[in-house]
């Protein structure tokens, strides 16, 4: 499912025009990004949670040249699906 399909579904359900429904989805996505960026966990019941996780720097290797390089510390967003969602997914056939 694409962003545009979500926009259409929201627009139709709440009688919003295209510009407004696009705006709604953009604000939701941007707010979620801001939340993770500000180190705030997002918790949506029945769906799951998003949170940032910091990974330490480590010595890696360039697989082509074998040269040792320092991979800097980085933050990655992690998604943990809710148990409900995993159960739902595995109940359906196909």
């Amino acid at each position: 499912m694409l962003k545009s399909e979500l926009e259409d579904i929201i627009g139709e359900e709440f009688k919003l025009d295209k510009v407004l429904s696009k705006n709604v989805i953009n604000i939701l996505v941007e707010s979620m990004i801001d939340s993770i960026k500000n180190n705030n966990r997002i918790e949506i019941r029945g769906f799951g949670s998003f949170f940032p996780k910091t990974y330490d720097s480590y010595n890696g290797r360039n697989p082509k040249t074998g040269e040792t390089i320092l991979v800097p510390e980085k933050i990655l967003p992690i998604f943990r699906p809710s148990k409900d969602l995993i159960t739902k997914l595995n109940k359906k056939k196909g």
Partner: protein, 100 residues
């Protein structure tokens, strides 16, 4: 951050009543959950994609008794953050742009 916070943000930004924005946020996540549980992937540019992956059945072991048991095949949900999101999380004000 919860659905309530998202409804508040929409209400403040768009002037739609809180009652209505709460319903919109519910519908947003319900739609995503519905699609995922039907096995459909979600793609949100600038944020990332949520995909369904098949996990094959494999032999595991009961950690207490050591008995081998078959772990049935199942579907897992995997989130792949977009480059944009990884960049935003790792942006430092000193201009350093770590490889992500």
């Amino acid at each position: 951050m919860t659905k309530k916070d998202l409804a508040n943000i929409l209400n403040k930004n768009l002037g739609i009543s809180l009652k209505e924005t709460s319903k919109i946020v519910d519908k947003f996540f319900d739609t995503i959950v519905k699609n995922l549980s039907e096995g459909k992937d979600i793609k949100l540019p600038g944020f990332g994609s949520i995909k369904i992956q098949e996990r094959k059945s494999r032999l595991g072991r009961n950690p207490t008794t050591g008995d081998p048991i078959e772990i049935a095949e199942r579907k897992a949900i995997v989130f792949r953050p977009s480059k944009n999101l990884k960049k935003k999380l790792n942006y430092k004000s000193d201009g350093e742009d770590p490889n992500v």
